[in-house]
Structures are given as structure tokens and as C-alpha cells.
């Protein structure tokens, strides 16, 4: 006999389970429309692989898994896809998300099924693939993809398989009725799980408010030879323990059955434990033995606002409204509608949302049953919350720190280990919505982490930018100094040139005087003729240059005028060449500076250009001097 351990805290809320247990499971009729959210599990949403207008068969895959943490989705019955669009999904915030909407045709026509005759011949990875392809995610609450939980790394030895049949939330009886009517399927699912993870111990945990099913489950488990499946001695045992909320929490159940605590932030696998809900076990049996993917589940419909509370075997995607109507829902008495139980369930925005893979209960309480909470009173630190907390936290301190947004203190007091079971809020005499404070604080802490990372990044970027700017500034200063020096040098050069030019001009004057003197003598010479023509041309070009509207004509004219002038006075051409060369040098120099500042790859080319321009300047200057010397000679 396996020992059982107690966990700290816990509460004993009114169970309210008998209402929905008076009848056997009812198979709900097929609703005219099924709405299937693409995200019914933890992880990446599935991707639709059908089009609007497609006819789908029951069990046909309609959306495929995306990425490793994702599961596919299947058509729960035959019908036509009439929409793939945003619809309100079952979510605490009443969010909208992508859904595939199927109009059912009532034929419930299956796709071809290929059940496996003997799964014991299959290996672990094949079985996991089947489970993964069947779209199975945890059916107890969180909806974590089952295949990932089972696909344990080879270096983590799993010795214990825990079946969670606790169902500690008040009102919910989905698992209880499942055990009453599907014991064999559960046991078959357990056997497949045993085949996959090969534990030495299988612990089937049931709260002692469900003792009526223990014999049935024990007998069903006895039909399987677990030693043959695992290849070594394996004991399977049904263990009952005192009813206490939240004993069905994975961490709490592990503590009850093994006395071990899952390390904070860790996984049960680290302790060699895998925990599965019994609803998931049935889904696995259906997938492996019947080739039926996860397309339906057991959902409890209860609460005083329904006249016929019971458990439904319902297709996924069935609107809550449709299911409630089967139970004679009294809309005018219903104060709120809860998906899940009264402790951890969330209030629904409207009745059109569908049943999804994790919907274990639809609770329709009256105002008398679950009254509107009164306004919160002051926290008197009575400590009832700390007595109730299954994680051994100090909720009153967390509340104090949450009010003051003391995030460091909250982390120090392990707010991350809060499982949001609601036991503290349940016992709080001041009616403080403690869990809500913790949820908000957790978001704040998460946000702070993100902000912190962003700030780090921004700081890195800022530092890098400062460094770059400083470098540019330094380079600019250096370049400016270089330019100033160059300019100074150039000015000095020009100063020398001016002296030269004055000498040259004086020489030119003398030449002109000479020319004027002998102008008559050379009237018939070809050179004079040329000058005349040039002058004529120049005057024509001037007219065009000043009067024409056509820019090209103007430019041509200008050039012609220049040519004419040059012909008349060849020295001008040479002087202009010097000017041009100087301009080019300064342009090229500034380009070099820019290039250096920007680390431009063309730097070398620009430097060459400067050198070239300088060479040109030198040759132009030389040409002028030569010319003048010639003329003067």
C-alpha cells in the first residue's frame, strides 16, 4: 500500500457534486453549427487547412499543428465549413480568435478509420506520433499538448506515472462520471501510457468523495499486464485520499502521492514523474485503439440556473447555449456563467462561445448560490489565507506588497509559485480578490522583466551610438584642422601666384602695347583674320546667350562665346583652367574628408582625384607661365 502525504493548507468548499451525478452521461445532440477555435491548447495555434465551402468528414483533420508545441484540430462531425473567422472564444477576457465554423449535416459521417489491432507492437515514437496527430492536449484544465509531456528525454528516467482522477473543484463531475462509465477505456489508456513511458509505479489518485468508482477502476486496471508492457515489474495502484481542495493541482497531487515537491520553476519529469488526467487517458485510448482523434469530451452542465444538471458527451465546438438548452437553462435566474469550476473557472462573456478541449464544466449558478462579492474590507492580516495556501505562501504579505507594487518583495516572497487556486480569496473574511492582485502583479513582474531587457538593449545601443558620435566628432575636428591647414597652404600658394600673375599681366600689357603698335603691319596676316571672325562669332553668341530661352542653346552659345574669347585671348583659357583645377581640388578634398568620416570605401578614389586635380593645377599653371613667357619673349 502506497503511503499518502498531506499538503499544506487547502480548503473544504461545498462540493455540490451530487446534482450532476444523478443521471448517466447523456450524449448531446449535434448542434447545427460548431465553432472550433484554432487555439484550444497551450502553444502555437493550429493552422487551418480547409477552405470555406469545403465538405469535411467526421474526424478529418481541419487544422494542422504549427511548430513543436501545438496540436492539430479535427472536424467533430461531418458538414460544411462555412466560415474561418474571428469569433469570441472561451477566455477570461472574452477575447476573439480565429475559429473554423462548421455547419453540420447530421449524417455524422466518419472518415476512413484504421484502428491498430495491436498497439503493443508499436514503439514509443510511433505511439506519440499517433497521440500528437489525434490533437490530444491535457483535458484537465491547462491544455498542454500531451505528446510533449510524454516525449520525455531519454536521460530523464520516469519511474512514476500518476493518473489524476482527483477532480477537486466543486460542482464538476466530468471525470467522476467518466470513471463510472468508461473504466475500461481509462485502463486501456493507462496501459498505452505505461507502454510509452515504462514506469515502475502507476499511481491512480482519487479523492475519497468518489469511492464508488474505486472497485471498477481497480478491476479494469487488473485486466492489463503492465509488466509485459513496460518490460519490467510495474505495480498499478488506485490510491484514495481525503477530499481537500486543491488536491487535484498537479503539484499537490504529486505531493500527496509521493511526498515530493516539484522544484520551483521545474517540471514533474525532474522527479521522474509524469502526470496525466484520466480524460486524456480515454482520448489516448480512442486515438490509438479506435483511430478516433480528439473531437468530443465529457462536460458537466450544472448550477441552480439549470433544471436538469448532468454530464454530456459533447462534440467540441458545441455552443454553450446549445448545451445549456439541453439542461433546461433558466436564463432569467442566471447571474453569471462559468466555464470550469467555481474556484478556478472563468466567467463567460456570452453563451455563444463553444465547448473546447479543456471545458470540463459549464456552471450556471443563481445569485443565491454564488452571490455577488461584497466590497472588499480592510486586510486585518488574520492569516486565514496563509493557513489555506497550498503553496505555503503568505498571501496577506503578497497582497500588501502588491498594493504597494513592491515587485522585488513580491518575487522574494515567491509570487511565481502561486498556482492561483483561489483558496486564499475563498477564506478571506474581508472579501479581498487576492488572486486578482497576484495575477496583476505577475503581469507587472513579467512586464518589468521585458522592460528591463529592453532597457539593457537600449543602453547598449545608446552606448554604441555615443561612442560612434564621439568618434565622428573627433574625426570632424581632425578633418577641420587638416582643411584649415590645407587652406592656409593654398592661400600662401595663391599669394605667391598673385605676385607671379602681376608680373605676367605686366608682361601682357607690354605685349598688347606692342601689338597695338604693329596692328597695321599685321592687318592682312591670318592671325588678325582669325581674331576678326572670332569677334563676330562672339557678338552673335552673346546675343543668343542673353536672348535665347532655350537652355541648351544658351549653353552652346556661352561655350561658343568663350571659345571666341579664348581665340581672341588664349591666356583666358589657361587662367580658367587654373581656376577649374583649384575648384576641383577643394571639392575633391572635401569629398576625401567626408569619405574618411564615413569610412567610405571610395576614399582611395577620392584621394586619387585630389592628386589628379593637383597635378592638373600644376600643369595649368605651368602652361600659363609658359604661354606668357612665350608671348613676352
Amino acid at each position: 500500500m502506497n503511503n499518502i502525504w498531506d499538503f499544506h493548507g487547502g480548503i473544504h468548499p461545498l462540493e455540490n457534486k451530487t446534482q450532476s451525478l444523478s443521471k448517466a452521461i447523456v450524449t448531446a445532440p449535434i448542434a447545427p453549427q460548431l465553432t472550433l477555435p484554432l487555439s484550444q491548447h497551450i502553444g502555437a495555434p493550429a493552422k487551418a487547412i480547409v477552405q470555406v465551402g469545403d465538405y469535411v468528414l467526421k474526424g478529418q483533420c481541419i487544422a494542422e499543428a504549427v511548430g513543436p508545441v501545438s496540436v492539430p484540430l479535427h472536424a467533430p462531425t461531418s458538414g460544411t465549413v462555412i466560415a474561418i473567422e474571428q469569433r469570441t472564444i472561451p477566455h477570461a477576457s472574452g477575447l476573439e480568435d480565429n475559429c473554423i465554423v462548421i455547419e453540420t449535416n447530421g449524417k455524422d459521417e466518419w472518415r476512413t478509420r484504421n484502428p491498430i489491432a495491436d498497439y503493443t507492437q508499436l514503439d514509443k515514437s510511433t505511439l506519440i506520433k499517433i497521440i500528437s496527430d489525434a490533437g490530444i492536449s491535457g483535458m484537465g484544465g491547462a491544455g498542454f499538448p500531451t505528446s510533449i509531456k510524454l516525449n520525455t528525454r531519454d536521460d530523464t528516467a520516469i519511474d512514476t506515472l500518476i493518473l489524476n482522477a482527483t477532480e477537486c473543484e466543486p460542482y464538476i463531475t466530468a471525470d467522476h462520471s467518466l470513471m463510472r462509465e468508461y473504466a475500461d477505456e481509462i485502463a486501456s489508456g493507462v496501459a498505452i501510457l505505461a507502454k510509452i513511458i515504462k514506469p515502475t509505479k502507476i499511481l491512480f489518485g482519487i479523492e475519497d468523495n468518489k469511492l464508488d468508482v474505486v472497485d471498477g477502476i481497480t478491476a479494469a486496471l487488473a485486466q492489463h499486464n503492465f509488466a509485459a508492457l513496460t518490460g519490467h515489474a510495474t505495480e498499478a495502484e488506485v490510491i484514495t485520499f481525503p477530499t481537500k481542495y486543491p488536491s487535484g493541482g498537479e503539484k499537490q497531487l504529486i505531493q500527496i502521492l509521493t511526498g515530493k515537491e516539484v522544484p520551483s520553476g521545474g517540471l514533474p519529469a525532474q522527479l521522474g514523474i509524469v502526470c496525466q488526467n484520466i480524460g486524456t487517458a480515454v482520448a489516448i485510448h480512442n486515438a490509438v485503439c479506435l483511430d478516433e482523434p480528439l473531437i468530443s469530451r465529457i462536460t458537466t452542465v450544472t448550477g441552480d440556473a439549470v433544471n436538469q444538471p448532468c454530464n454530456y458527451h459533447t462534440l467540441l465546438g458545441t455552443p454553450v447555449k446549445f448545451l445549456l438548452a439541453q439542461s433546461d437553462y433558466q436564463e432569467n435566474q442566471s447571474a453569471r456563467l462559468i466555464m470550469g469550476g467555481p474556484m478556478m473557472g472563468f466567467a463567460l462573456a456570452n453563451t455563444a462561445v463553444p465547448v473546447i478541449k479543456t471545458s470540463n464544466c459549464i456552471l450556471a449558478p443563481t445569485e443565491q448560490e454564488l452571490p455577488t462579492p461584497p466590497p472588499a474590507q480592510a486586510c486585518i492580516r488574520c492569516g486565514m489565507c496563509a493557513e489555506a495556501c497550498p503553496a505555503s505562501l503568505l498571501p496577506q504579505q503578497l497582497y500588501w506588497f502588491a498594493q504597494g507594487k513592491e515587485l522585488d518583495k513580491l518575487e522574494e516572497h515567491n509570487i511565481a509559485d502561486c498556482i492561483e487556486c483561489g483558496a486564499c480569496s475563498y477564506v478571506c473574511p474581508s472579501n479581498i480578490p487576492l488572486v486578482q492582485y497576484y495575477r496583476a502583479s505577475k503581469v507587472d513582474i513579467k512586464q518589468r522583466k521585458v522592460d528591463h531587457q529592453n532597457a539593457e538593449l537600449a543602453k547598449e545601443r545608446f552606448d554604441a551610438r555615443q561612442e560612434r558620435l564621439q568618434r565622428l566628432e573627433d574625426e570632424k575636428i581632425a578633418a577641420r584642422q587638416a582643411r584649415q591647414a590645407a587652406a592656409k597652404l593654398a592661400a600662401e600658394k595663391r599669394g605667391k601666384e598673385d605676385v607671379k600673375r602681376a608680373a605676367v599681366e605686366a608682361a601682357v600689357e607690354r605685349v598688347k602695347a606692342k601689338k597695338a603698335k604693329s596692328v597695321q603691319e599685321f592687318t592682312d596676316s591670318p592671325e588678325t583674320q582669325k581674331t576678326k571672325e572670332a569677334k563676330e562669332k562672339e557678338s552673335q553668341a552673346n546675343i543668343i546667350a542673353t536672348e535665347s530661352d532655350d537652355p541648351i542653346a544658351r549653353a552652346v552659345a556661352k561655350r561658343a562665346a568663350q571659345q571666341a574669347e579664348d581665340a581672341a585671348n588664349p591666356e583666358n583659357k589657361l587662367i580658367r583652367a587654373i581656376d577649374n583645377a583649384e575648384q576641383r581640388i577643394s571639392k575633391s578634398q572635401s569629398r576625401v574628408i567626408d569619405a574618411e568620416a564615413n569610412n567610405d570605401e571610395n576614399l582611395a578614389i577620392f584621394k586619387q582625384a585630389v592628386e589628379k586635380a593637383e597635378a592638373k593645377l600644376a600643369s595649368a599653371q605651368q602652361a600659363l607661365i609658359d604661354f606668357r613667357a612665350q608671348n613676352s619673349a
Binding site: 516539484v262 467555481p342 493557513e387 488572486v435
Partner: protein
């Protein structure tokens, strides 16, 4: 009908802070009854006047702080403070003593800090200590147990008791109407063996002080009732009583003149039991974790004995509680319980 959208949990155990306070008030009844039987109507008048002042002061403070008055008065916390202070003060205390005490309890110790839940010190004990330091004579004049009164002295009836408290009548000045309490006698004693002391002064009863034994047992009954109803955990009160008992056993030398009385005497006299179940258990000003509350309670028990034996005051619950109120945040810092998944064996 529009569907209500609130977050989980949706269920509540339907116990309110007002209920908790009402249970505490109810639990004081046996002790108050014993006090009335033993010392006359004085305590009831104390409680009556303190309650009126307490509620009025609370209302004024709430109005000044622009808080909803009715909502906060309905938490009954002011009433609890008033009743506790009324019990702690000597019977037939004058109205101005009560008013001053309640002013310091409600206005200074509680509302100035932000009201219920934000007071670092126990309000009733703050009021009590202020009075004890300011008016030592009035505060140490305790009515004699009725059973010890000479036949010539008549006990004031309810109406006369009210008139005395309001100052329209004098307390009977006859010798013997007020007496030193057993703890006073023990403090002042330096010559007599405990047994001789007991024989000489009728204030000493078989176990504790005459009349006090029943008062203590009355508060014990109330305290156990609250424990049974899980209004508080056993940690702080039991640890305080154990610490006080152990200290007095350690220093009880069998009854010499230097002795400080047997453990039963120490526990059943004065405010020890009342303090353990009604003052030490005040959650607002105590340590929060169970481990912390054990340390907190033990600290109070030890301090009570130290002050009773070596201090200047015959009784010491109020001082001990206030001193440990100071220490509570420090205790909290070092006694944070191990969270699930953080124990050494899980790492």
C-alpha cells in the same frame, strides 16, 4: 439578465471580517461576566463609555479622512478596541480617562496610520500605555474584589456606577473599597515568604488572585472558543503562555520572599490570559507566519515576566505587546515559511 464578469474564485466561505470581530466580542463575554461578578459594574460601564467614545471618534476620523463611515463602522473593529480597553482599565474609571484612552487608541494608534489593517501597534494597548504613564494613580487604583469588601461597604449599583464614571458621584472612599492588586503586593513584597504573604493578604486566592482566577478562566474559555472557531491559530497565545509559565517556573524558588510567585499565580493573575487570547492574537500588529507568531508570542511571555519581576510596573502585558509589535516586521523577515518547491529536499 447581463452576465456578471468577475475573476475566479467565484465561491466564498461567507465569513466576513465583521463576523470575525463579532465573534471576538462574543468571546469576551465570560471574562467580562467574571469581572463584573468579581469587581462590580465598573467594567461594564467602562465598556459602555469606551464603546460610545470609540465609535464616535472612529466616525469623526473617517469623516475627516473622507471615508464611507457606515461601511467602516460595520467592521466592528473600533468596538473591539473599545471593549478590550474597557476591560483592561480599572473598573469605575472616569469618563475622561476612557476618552483619552480611546482617543489615543482610535485616532493616534489606528486612524493616523491609515485605519484598520495599517496600524503597527495594538490600538488598545497604545491607549492603555498612554494612560498608565500619564495617570499612574488612577490607573493603579483597582476596585477590591466584592467578596473581600467589608460588610459596611455597599457596592455601587449600575446607575451609581455610571454616575461615578461620569463624575457626578464619588467612588466610595471608605477604606477597603480599592485595594492593591495581588501583583502590586508581590512587587512591593521584600520580606515575607509567599505563603505568609498569601495568609496576610486576602487578595491572594488559591491559584492566582482572588476574583482574578475566575476572570482568567472566563477569558480562557472565550479564547478557546475563538481557537475552536479558527479565528486565530494557537501559535502566538500558547507560545506566550508557555514562555510566561516557563519563566516563572525557572524563577520560582518555592516561595521565598524574593520569589515572584508560582507559574499558576503568574498565569492566572493580572492580564496574562486576557492578553494571550485577546491582545497577542491581534493579527494586524503581530507577526504573520506561524513560526513568526511562536517567536512573537514567546517574546511577549518573556517580556511580561521580566517587567513584572524587574520592571517598574506590576503588570506588563501592554508594554510587552508594544515592544513585540516593534519586532514583528523583523520577525516576519526571518520567518518566511518555505514555499512549495523551495525546500532543500526538492532542490
Amino acid at each position: 439578465m447581463a452576465l456578471m464578469r468577475i475573476t475566479s474564485p467565484h465561491a466564498h466561505n461567507k465569513q466576513s471580517t465583521s463576523d470575525v470581530m463579532k465573534l471576538v466580542l462574543l468571546a469576551t463575554l465570560p471574562g467580562v461576566l467574571a469581572l463584573t461578578v468579581a469587581f462590580g459594574w465598573g467594567t461594564l460601564i467602562n465598556i459602555l463609555l469606551a464603546s460610545i467614545f470609540g465609535l464616535a471618534l472612529e466616525a469623526i476620523a473617517l469623516a475627516a479622512r473622507k471615508r464611507p463611515i457606515a461601511f467602516y463602522l460595520k467592521d466592528y473593529s473600533a468596538l473591539v478596541t473599545a471593549v478590550l480597553l474597557g476591560i483592561a482599565l480599572p473598573p469605575y474609571s472616569a469618563w475622561w480617562i476612557l476618552l483619552t484612552g480611546m482617543f489615543f487608541s482610535i485616532i493616534v494608534a489606528k486612524q493616523l496610520y491609515g485605519g484598520l489593517g495599517y496600524n503597527p501597534f495594538n490600538p488598545a494597548m497604545v491607549g492603555y500605555v498612554v494612560l498608565l504613564i500619564s495617570f499612574p494613580i488612577q490607573m493603579t487604583t483597582w476596585a477590591a474584589p466584592i467578596e473581600l469588601l467589608p460588610a459596611s461597604v455597599s457596592v455601587p449599583n449600575l446607575w451609581d456606577s455610571l454616575l461615578i464614571a461620569l463624575g457626578f458621584m464619588q467612588l466610595p472612599t471608605v477604606d477597603g473599597f480599592t485595594m492593591a492588586t495581588p501583583l502590586d503586593l508581590l512587587r512591593q513584597n521584600n520580606a515575607l515568604m509567599i505563603d505568609d504573604l498569601k495568609q496576610q493578604y486576602s487578595q491572594f486566592g488559591d491559584w492566582g488572585g482572588t476574583g482574578w482566577e475566575w476572570v482568567s478562566l472566563g477569558f480562557l474559555a472565550g479564547g478557546l472558543f475563538l481557537l475552536y472557531r479558527k479565528i486565530f491559530t494557537w501559535h502566538a497565545p500558547i507560545s506566550m503562555l508557555v514562555a510566561l509559565g516557563l519563566m516563572s517556573a525557572l524563577f520560582y524558588d518555592g516561595g521565598s520572599s524574593a520569589s515572584s510567585g508560582s507559574p499558576s499565580f503568574q498565569l492566572l493573575t493580572g492580564a496574562a490570559i486576557f492578553g494571550a487570547f485577546f491582545i497577542v492574537t491581534d493579527p494586524v500588529s503581530s507577526a504573520v507566519s506561524n513560526k513568526g507568531r511562536i517567536i512573537y508570542g514567546a517574546g511577549i511571555g518573556i517580556l511580561i515576566f521580566l517587567i513584572r519581576k524587574w520592571g517598574n510596573y506590576p503588570d506588563a502585558v501592554a508594554f510587552a505587546v508594544l515592544l513585540m509589535n516593534f519586532a514583528a516586521p523583523l520577525i516576519d523577515h526571518y520567518t518566511q515559511p518555505t514555499t512549495y518547491g523551495h525546500s532543500k529536499k526538492s532542490k
